[in-house]
């Protein structure tokens, strides 16, 4: 932090330029916040953290090449004084737990209100932890609570897929065509293709058959 002006220096790491742009504008509109850099993947986040030494790193969990959790593992060496708040569209207990165990100071959903994000940044800068909608006074208890889930549930990973994306994966596994899926969920075929592109990217698969095999092998779509 810049002691003279008490400005909080922030690095944004997210693979979506539009999201980074929007977040940058929101943060820079806030007095006392300065965005010092942007990274498009975990590797760049590590490099820029070491170079710029930001106070706060806002780190997206789902990024290509070097995902958020992987970057978090190396961050304590690259930038020991930087405090990381993990951002995610969807985050499971196991991921939140792992992020905190790897040194993250906060975990917040991307859908959270801007005011919550700003509060989380200030809380983390004040030495607190932040999970979801509130600051954490007892990290040990929070970690225990996060750990105490049925093993079956923690094993069922969503690989960062949203609920809608999981619905679409289930439909693919069921043999639905894009047209079937668009009718089933009342969305356009173009939207179905857009979802599939995101799903393919997140899972690292290259076509429907590989997606279906992946989903079955990892039990992504089984009925609870």
């Amino acid at each position: 932090m810049d002691k003279k002006t008490e400005t909080i220096r922030i690095l944004i790491a997210d693979d979506h330029p539009i999201f980074r742009d929007g977040l940058r504008k929101l943060l820079e509109a806030e007095a006392g916040f300065q965005v010092v850099g942007e990274a498009g993947d975990g590797g760049e986040a590590l490099r820029l953290s070491g170079q710029l030494k930001p106070d706060i790193l806002l780190l997206d969990l789902s990024m290509p090449r070097v995902p958020g959790l992987e970057a978090l593992r190396d961050l304590s060496k690259a930038a020991p004084l930087t405090r990381t708040i993990v951002l995610a569209a969807v985050v499971e207990r196991a991921q939140a737990l792992e992020a905190l165990q790897l040194g993250a100071r906060g975990v917040i959903l991307k859908e959270a209100a801007t005011s919550l994000l700003l509060k989380s940044i200030r809380a983390v800068m004040a030495g607190q932890y932040w999970v979801g909608n509130s600051s954490i006074s007892d990290l040990v208890m929070t970690l225990r609570e996060l750990k105490s889930v049925p093993e079956e549930e923690s094993r069922k990973k969503s690989f960062g897929l949203t609920p809608r994306e999981l619905d679409i994966v289930a439909a693919i596994v069921g043999g639905y065509t894009n047209k079937d899926i668009s009718e089933k969920f009342r969305i356009s075929e173009q939207t179905v293709k857009h979802h599939l592109t995101n799903i393919f990217d997140k899972l690292g698969v290259s076509n429907r058959l590989e997606l279906a095999l992946f989903a079955v092998n990892h039990r992504l779509v089984e009925d609870d």
């Binding site: 069921g174 079937d180 698969v205 290259s206 076509n207 279906a212 095999l213 092998n217 089984e222």
Partner: protein
């Protein structure tokens, strides 16, 4: 009668316009019954998969086929999805590798490259 592959078949070797080509295809350890027949044949034969990728299938069957034999294959994706079982995969390809069994009483294995495939709703059934 032969079941023709409808227009929405996908060439497995092409990069899907939806996804990226990320190198060698991952092999999934799927053990499921498989039906196969030589291209042009009417009767199906039975086998069992050892592993499946988006570009090929390794399966065991009683009779070993020669390399380059063109075949059609069908197998179910064993999955408990909301509205019934998983899709049936219908594909065509050719034998690219054969493996003699480790013991005389075991079935030989064959690797087939998938040229084209489609996923259809419902389980595999014998064609009329």
């Amino acid at each position: 009668m032969r079941q023709d592959l409808r227009p929405e078949i996908v060439k497995a070797s092409e990069q899907a316009d939806e996804g990226r080509n990320s190198g060698r295809a991952e092999r999934f350890p799927v053990h499921t019954p498989l039906r196969y027949r030589l291209s042009g044949d009417i009767d199906w034969r039975e086998g069992r998969t050892e592993n499946i990728s988006c570009t090929g299938v390794l399966f065991r069957a009683e009779e070993m086929l020669a390399i380059d034999t063109a075949i059609e294959m069908q197998f179910d994706l064993a999955a408990e999805v909301e509205e019934g079982g998983g899709a049936m995969v219908i594909c065509s390809g050719q034998i690219v590798r054969t493996l003699l069994p480790p013991a005389s009483d075991a079935a030989p294995a064959m690797a087939a490259h998938i040229h084209e495939y489609r996923l259809v709703r419902g389980s595999a059934e014998f064609d009329a």
